[in-house]
């Protein structure tokens, strides 16, 4: 029996198997830790730390009940949502406007600004905590969500600006010029013409700013003093006393933390490739 000749875009069975085998392995590794935490979270407390490792062991939602009703978890969760959403909105607004200015206008100070962005990525955040703390204190912002939102913006905005600038660079300047002739000033052009076209870039920015704020620990511990105002990252640290981590609470909490992150991720992921690259191809 004669074999059908292989088309250009087809590959041999062996290559196909190898491709899928590699990707399946990679996917398994990517998902496994998450899955394992989930599996642990539905084990009874003593089974998590048993030295006999099992996949599923008396599945129960007890840990979740415990986290949700016996701790401040819901409050922390709400705090985190507020902080992350505000960081996302403010961070996007800041990086989009700055990115647009950097992409379209030649203004004195532009080069310096680009350098500042790079330098801010270089100075370790861990060390900035103390001085930022004193600044926040003098602004009376300690123990407020605003302090966190502002601090997270400093972390996320440089990269987002740089990435959005790359994205805006891919939008033809003709459109700005057409808009200028249609009677729009720079701000209206940005709002009516550029932003609607920059959705992929904005989606990545949203994703990035949200995640920056969502799981952050160091600033949150430093700036927030009262239990009721803690965010998730900081709150969960209470489950990790030095010698006796409460794995039952931790695992359940970790799974609950990942849910909103996955939601944001789900909406952004379609755009990630297009959005990030434009930034990546431009220095």
């Amino acid at each position: 029996m004669s074999r059908r000749p292989r088309g250009r875009d087809e590959r041999s069975l062996g290559a196909s198997v190898a491709l899928h085998a590699t990707l399946l392995t990679a996917t398994a590794i990517a998902l496994f830790p998450v899955l394992w935490v989930f599996l642990a979270s539905i084990k009874p407390q003593n089974a998590i730390q048993s030295s006999k490792v099992t996949l599923i062991d008396h599945p129960t939602l007890e840990n979740y009940r415990h986290v949700l009703f016996d701790t401040s978890f819901p409050t922390w969760f709400l705090n985190s949502v507020v902080v992350a959403v505000f960081t996302m909105v403010i961070g996007m607004a800041m990086s989009a406007t700055a990115g647009y200015a950097l992409s379209r206008f030649n203004f004195p100070g532009k080069r310096g600004l680009m350098w500042v962005f790079l330098i801010t990525q270089m100075f370790p955040v861990a060390i900035l905590i103390v001085p930022i703390y004193s600044i926040m204190a003098s602004l009376n912002l300690i123990d407020t969500k605003a302090s966190l939102v502002i601090a997270y913006c400093t972390v996320a905005v440089p990269f987002c600006t740089w990435m959005l600038r790359g994205y805006f660079d891919t939008i033809p300047r003709d459109l700005d010029e057409a808009a200028a002739l249609d009677g729009l000033g720079p701000f209206k052009t940005f709002w009516y013409v550029i932003l609607p076209l920059a959705r992929p870039g904005l989606a990545v920015t949203a994703f990035y700013t949200f995640l920056t704020a969502w799981g952050e620990v160091a600033y949150a511990i430093a700036f927030i003093l009262s239990d009721k105002k803690l965010t998730l990252g900081a709150g969960l640290q209470q489950f990790v006393p030095q010698f006796n981590p409460q794995w039952d609470l931790l695992t359940a909490g970790a799974v609950l933390i990942m849910l909103p992150a996955s939601l944001v991720f789900y909406f952004a992921q379609r755009h990630l490739v297009a959005g990030l690259t434009a930034g990546g191809t431009k220095g």
Partner: protein, 365 residues
Amino acid sequence: MSTPVVFDAATRVYPGSTTPAVDSLDLEVRAGEFLVLVGPSGCGKSTSLRMLAGLEDVTSGAIRIGERDVTHLRPKDRDIAMVFQSYALYPHLTVGENMGFALKIAGLSKAEITARVTDAAKVLDLEPYLDRKPKALSGGQRQRVAMGRAIVREPQVFLMDEPLSNLDAKLRVSTRTQIAALQRRLGITTVYVTHDQVEAMTMGDRVAVLKDGILQQVAAPLELYDKPANAFVAGFIGSPAMNLGTFRVEDGAAVIGEARVPLPRTATAALTESEVVLGFRPEALEMVAGYAPDAFAVEVLVAEELGSEAFLYGTLEGASLRDPQLVAKVAPRSVPPKGSRVHFRILPDRMHVFSPATGEALPTA
């Protein structure tokens, strides 16, 4: 209610460059006129147009639209519409929204916008497409949307920067006539940029020829063809291009091969060198049988037979020319074969004489 446009010594020097991209441009576009800016690539056509649109700063000089000095006005305050080479349609808006966008920004009522967009769409045969996004249109349709966006504005001036260059040859020809007709009907002053001299000749009321940022000549198409102001314009306008060559001058006649071609007395009088630049169009050559004192021999390299007309490409024999290539228009269907040797003479009143030093046309009458 159309408006004239004046470039008054308008100059544009790009930052970081020393030579001006447009050098002291003096040009008046009359009210309601269709003026074509033409010239080779990089000569500053787009820059001139963009200065008028306000998209490029004017380094020195002034630009006026009607009575208004617009030199330092923002584009949006100039009441100008422009058709871009890339069309620059907003990808996220439908055709209708694209066309009505400027009106919406200007704060017109919904009903008014709809009425004007529908009118324009009717004129441009775009009615079936009003709800589509530009992505779902063909090149020609996008071009018409770009036109529509300009005409709904009813601006004082239309600007178009090579609006046809993305269309295929056939569509370009038909769109060309549509645009010209539309402009005549609307009577709006129009500046049109192209590098295609056929477009320039067929569309413009007048044509302005630019080279290296300097205006060479402004005239009606036929005048440009018949009385080019210098050798550059002569060579640029017309297809196939005018034959141009530098020849020795002896006793008031140019030496072309073995032939002596008498020059007009006015021209020799103005001539300071012993050489002259002669220009003659392909159709200004006449084939002669056998010998004549002013006829020169040409060896045929290629014959282009088009049915209604024919062109011979040949080398000028015995000529001390840098480029001895020559094009002649001959009667079709009896073209001399390749490799044969034929004689031509220049029709005396169809000859152009230019100074070899300046390239300026010398008086022939």
